[in-house]
């Protein structure tokens, strides 16, 4: 059984390391530090931690001011509240001036589970990708998370990192090196390419493995940098495999599927299938139950691959 690790915990631990290395790292939260795990940083660096209370708009504005004065602020909340509650603040206080703020949102997607609709973040990628200048990263496991957090700290400009609530399987080993803006070939294949982000990468790998037993040979691409998206990798996948399936824990509008479809339509049209949540809100349930209900399991991916190959 693959080891499952909390990406949130790794985020908190990485912040502590960064805090030790660089006195300009500061952290903000909006009364969720026990869940986002920024509390680890708060404990070690109380003077560099600002709990803004349940006030996401203000938190984002303060982060912008800190960044404008040379600090490297990491601001965290749940993905549904930031960007959800503070979109205009992200737009004018951070995106437009290109402030060096790192928004790290946890509890992305529907695998938040039992808390239900109010806490499921299914629009955040669409919102944040719409803001000019934001770099958007959705790590696939804890190893990628740790590295992405470091890369965000070291790269100037606005970043959004989306983490999920549950522990998720490791899809990398320690030798992995995260490369900003680059897709990662997780598995080679000729019949079709599955492009996935976040915890769907593990499901995509499982699907590809199952399909190979049926004699269907399909590749898997992890797209950790959702924006700017790796156009070359998508063009190559379209050209070499002739069919693409995207899978994401997000609405079909404005996330991975939309972005890949833009590249495919512009540069190399091939049949595509987009696995995502379709214009609805999910309800309470266990994460696994919800993924099944909304068509985001390995089985769903397998079916989509079979379908898309028929349309080649």
């Amino acid at each position: 059984m693959v080891q499952e690790v909390s990406v949130r915990e790794v985020y908190g631990k990485t912040l502590v390391e960064l805090g030790r290395e660089n006195p300009d790292i500061v952290v903000l939260d909006a009364d969720l530090s026990r869940s986002t795990m920024t509390q680890l940083f708060a404990r070690e660096f109380p003077e560099r931690f600002f709990d803004c209370g349940i006030a996401e708009q203000n938190m984002v504005g303060i982060a912008a001011g800190l960044a404008a004065s040379g600090k490297i602020p990491f601001a965290s909340s749940f993905a549904v509240f930031a960007p959800g509650r503070c979109f205009d603040q992200l737009r004018m206080s951070i995106a437009q001036p290109g402030r060096n703020v790192k928004l790290v949102a946890t509890h992305g997607g529907i695998t938040v589970g039992e808390d239900g609709t109010s806490h499921h973040s299914i629009e955040d990628l669409s919102l944040i990708c719409s803001l000019p200048g934001f770099t958007v990263i959705v790590p696939a496991d804890a190893i990628e998370t740790a590295q992405a957090v470091r890369v965000a700290a070291a790269s100037y400009g606005p970043f959004y990192l989306r983490l999920c609530r549950p522990k998720i399987p490791l899809v990398y080993n320690e030798s992995y090196r995260f490369n900003l803006g680059k897709a990662v070939t997780m598995r080679q294949g000729n019949g079709a390419t599955i492009i996935a982000i976040g915890l769907m990468v593990a499901a995509a790998l499982e699907a590809a493995e199952n399909l190979s037993r049926e004699g269907i040979d399909c590749g898997v691409l992890n797209m950790p940098t959702l924006k700017p998206i790796d156009e070359a990798a998508i063009k190559k996948a379209a050209a070499e495999t002739g069919a693409i399936v995207t899978v994401e824990e997000h609405l079909e509008h404005g996330g991975l599927g939309s972005k890949v479809a833009q590249v495919v339509a512009r540069h190399h049209p091939v049949p595509m299938e987009i696995l995502a949540i379709r214009d609805t809100y999910a309800k309470s349930g266990k994460p696994a139950e919800l993924l099944r209900r909304y068509g985001l399991t390995a089985e769903d991916i397998e079916q989509a691959v079979r379908g898309v190959i028929k349309r080649k």
Partner: protein, 299 residues
Amino acid sequence: MPLPESGESLSSTSAGDVEAEVFSSRAAGTKSLKEMKDIAKRLRRHIITMIGKAGSGHPGGSLSAVEIVTALYFRVLRHKPQDPCWSDRDRFILSKGHAAPLLYATLAECGYFSVEELSTLRRLDSRLQGHTDCTVTPGVEMSAGALGQGLSFAIGVALAGRLNSQNYRVYVLLGDGECDEGQVWEAAMAAAHFKVDNLVAIVDNNGQQIDGWNREVMSLDPFNQKWQAFGWQVIEVDGHNLTQLTQALDQAKLTKGQPTVIIAHTIKGKGVSFMENNPDFHGKAPDAVQVDKALKELE
């Protein structure tokens, strides 16, 4: 703590030599009261001329804050127009970004760029955008125009100064209508909680917003008490009285452990008779005849 409703003289205050202290012990480069009054008049003329030429813009809320911004830039702020990014500069953050013409005129008078450039307001490729844009205009700290965001930003700047042991001070100008925004009160709470005493908010309390008087659109009362309840030192002044403004800004410097808000009572459209207290001129440019008339009044 309200100041007396006196004129330019502060002789009725207990600090009898305040005026002398305020206006004689300044660093070189700051202006006398007389010079500041002349500057204020020039700023008003620039505002009218620029907006008239552009054919759109916000005269009312620019004119009401002229003395506030004059007192800051020509008396209080430590800044270097030749080095706008000097890291120890005092910061002025215009949260009510529609008063951009006032800020541009002030920056030009200080020498951040030429007065001639003011005539490019709102034109394609101009550095003087319709609302402030910190990515193009030297001396502009924040891109504003979406009301309610400046105080939060100012807190961040103030906290960074504290963390860096820099002794710059942060001044942020808010509109009273802007204080309808919930974010302003989130920030008000946070500023007191974080005890940012290097932060001063100034409210251009002209009593009006777009749809009319504050008290009719959305009452702010009791405004002074609201700020006090949020943990701020509150000073009320006549916002067209340079002496009162300067004194209040000085008093704020001495206050430790809490932020200060200066509620500056002003008149929207101040200085141009037909614009004063006239909501029509919130966001409308004067036509050519009105520009002439206004400039005559401002001679």
